[in-house]
Amino acid sequence: MRKILAGILAMVMIFSLCSMAVADDKNVITVTVFRGDPGDQPTDDNRIYKMIEEEFGIKFEIEFLAGDLDETLGTKIAGEDYPDLFDGGNSAEKIISAGALIDLLPYITEEKTPNLYNHIKDLLPQLVNENGELFIIPNYGINYNDQIQNYCNGPAFFIQKQVLEWGNYPEIKTLNEYFDLIERFIAANPTDENGTPYTGFAILCEGWRHFCLINPVQHLMGRPNDGEVLIDVTTDEYKTETFIDKPYAKAYYKKLNEEYKKGLISKDTFVMNFDQYIAALSSGTVLGMFDQTWDFGSATQALETAGMYKNTFLALPLVYDSEYVDGKEIEEHYLNGSVPNKDRGFGISVNCEYPERLIDLFENLLSDRWQKILQWGIEGEDYYVENGRMLMTEEQYKQRSDAAWKRANTAIAIWESAPKKQGTQDDGNAWAHSDQPENYFNLMSDYDKAFLAAYGKKTPAQFFNAPLQIAPYGEAWQIDKTPIQDDYNDYLAIQDAQLPKIIMSADDAEFDANWDAFVAEIAPSAQIYTDFMQAEVLKLVEQATK
């Protein structure tokens, strides 16, 4: 018995050696990948990765973020333990500054890599650093032909569609109208069908996602997303100021304090982590929040998969009521022209032994054929073509938002961080299957169709003004704050600690005292931050006008 077992083991070993030898002949390489976001591991028999392996001889071993991003990156830097393809997520500046990535520009030439070259050539001046190096090719924001915007993917105030339905589809344009409607809805419907109480407004405060807490004021003042500064674009001085410590910001947090006292905002929201937040949204009991659409995409998909369409959210571009801003009428500008997502996406690490092959991979993946495979799937299986239009059946369309299906049938983990084509193809089809107007309109749920029809709109994007012409400095949140990082971290930490306290004030006197203490505490770091940002913005403007 033992001999037979030993024999079998020996055979297995020989076989595995053989198969390794065969693989070596074809020169299949396994590329290690790190993604700076949480994600789903693809299945072993994923058909798109199989195609990539057959065509390019490249397999992926993907590590997704688990835990804190800065600490994960710090651990990798300390051990110089870099994956081949390195996406540092929202803290990519850290791996660049540690010298973890190689300069990609020497590999990108018009002759050898025409797709990549044409992809970035016009944007190069704004993408490279002061030494003329490019470490990361942006993962999003590079559009071909016309940009299609069916919905707002960025920041907005969100509200459950059933609240608007209940209120007989009112026009909600200001902060007061928004909270007033939620208040009235909760008064009439304190709990959902299962008896779970509704939460009026949720505020995510965890880690870098605290933009849900600290960013809204600039939008209420009628500006697109510049991070934590408000920039006056009407003059050539581009006067830059922090908004969080200004009287007009006080009005917003005063409003939140009132809603807190009325019970619309729960204390628990300030100690929630991202997973708990997504779980709360997915349960359908949170009626509103300020966030960015991409941030809670998994909750939207969960609600849609469960058929809870009335609990999905509509993005609204709210502004301050004129009473808050000296009687001024504010025009909303949430949507902005597209900006390349600078320093976000894949870089190639210094530990990578085959940078040429990876560049070659991205060059090929950027070809029209592969972009269709990555964004649409396989013709005949995942979509069909009729009169030159790329279309999907209802089933094909729906399965693309099913997490389990995506693990086996899309290369989303690589695609998300890789350079990609957005906008429209030369033949007029959209690059993204979800942007294709026919798909978007015909295949949306009956609830959504009726909902939009009630408002007389064709797309959720029509609730917004047309995108602004992008400012010469781009979007200020992209500015690298590494040179003032200690002060910048203090600036953020003070907001994280004090704003929830301010919102949870028991009465007006306590609110005012908390607010004054906050303004005093944040003044030194806010000043350093303002000065730094002002200088950087002017530098970028000068660069753009050169």
Partner: protein
């Protein structure tokens, strides 16, 4: 363990033996201790070399030889931070709470179990109380966050009993944080920590209890005059060891339960070192983390020797 603690081994050297000869005679024992020594050297002494980076603007890419020397810059920085001073306070406070809560609760449990005569019941209680020890802290904190949430069972109970009007904000109230950590630690470790006391108690000579009964001592008196003196030496040894660990209030629980509302009261030196070290400044981060860790170790050593010295003065068992 208990035997050694009970009878003081008195090794009186008769005549000066050659140390090498003694070593040779005990070669099996020596061989057995090699892996432990190797382990201690590799993981406890060897890394001390890295302390050198606390005096540098250390970048992993440049290494120790290539990084710039900055003298005490990193120490100056961490001591200029209010939150580092807070983290020293929090570390000591939570350690003391854990020490007192942990010791008292485990001795209490051990005494109670020692008095139980029904073996089946005793075994069951023992198993149930030490099972949480094997749970990962992530799970324990996840459970605690549900139990202590505003709409969790604890608050529901308090409100329905009319003890409080509004739910208590357990997870976001800074003043509660230390005590919450203490309670969770007791729940998780009480069974485990009591094992050592229970085993000490079982080694107490039964004739002492009999003699005490004959002298007319009741159950309570027997606990006071036989059981407690019987575990005294174990208690002192454990106390000295725990005082040496006073700077280690724990890492996981504070790290997992931290949020922006309680951070001033939750952050321990370990978490501080992680946040500002690994997760912090791109140029100074690592060295700042090392500096914080170094401070912690030095204070820990001073505390350990201090406790040992005092115990010696009190003529008790000592560790070193």
């Amino acid at each position: 363990m208990t035997g050694a603690a009970q009878t003081k081994p008195s090794i009186v050297p008769h005549k000066k033996k050659n140390i090498w000869k003694t070593l040779w005679e005990q070669k099996q024992l020596m061989l057995m201790s090699v892996p432990v020594l190797l382990y201690v050297f590799l993981f406890n002494y060897f890394p001390l070399w890295g302390w050198i980076t606390a005096f540098q603007k250390y970048k992993p890419k440049l290494g120790v030889t290539g990084s710039e020397w900055v003298e005490f810059e990193n120490f100056r920085w961490i001591f200029s931070r209010q939150d580092f001073l807070y983290s020293i306070r929090n570390t000591l406070a939570m350690s003391l709470i854990n020490l007192v809560f942990g010791t008292v609760s485990s001795i209490l449990l051990a005494i109670l179990l020692n008095e139980v005569r029904n073996r089946a019941f005793k075994r069951t209680v023992q198993t149930v109380t030490y099972l949480p020890h094997f749970l990962s802290m992530v799970i324990v904190v996840g459970m605690a966050q549900n139990i202590f949430a505003s709409n969790g069972p604890v608050n529901s109970l308090l409100v329905s009993l009319g003890l409080v009007k509004d739910p208590i904000f357990f997870l976001g109230e800074p003043k509660i944080f230390w005590w919450l950590v203490g309670v969770i630690n007791v729940w998780k470790e009480v069974g485990w920590n009591s094992i050592i006391y229970i085993s000490t108690m079982t080694s107490i000579d039964p004739t002492l209890y009999e003699a005490a009964s004959i002298d007319g001592a009741g159950r309570f008196q027997r606990i006071l005059n036989v059981t407690l003196p019987g575990i005294k030496s174990t208690f002192v040894v454990l106390l000295i060891m725990n005082i040496g660990h006073l700077m280690e209030a724990g890492f996981e629980i504070q790290y997992l339960m931290e949020n922006s509302q309680v951070v001033d009261f939750s952050r321990t030196i370990d978490v501080f070192a992680l946040k500002y070290g690994i997760g912090g400044h791109a140029d100074y981060g690592y060295a700042r983390g090392v500096a914080a860790g170094m401070f912690k170790s030095v204070v820990g050593i001073i505390l350990l020797f201090g406790a040992n010295f005092i115990a010696k003065k009190l003529d008790e068992e000592t560790l070193i």
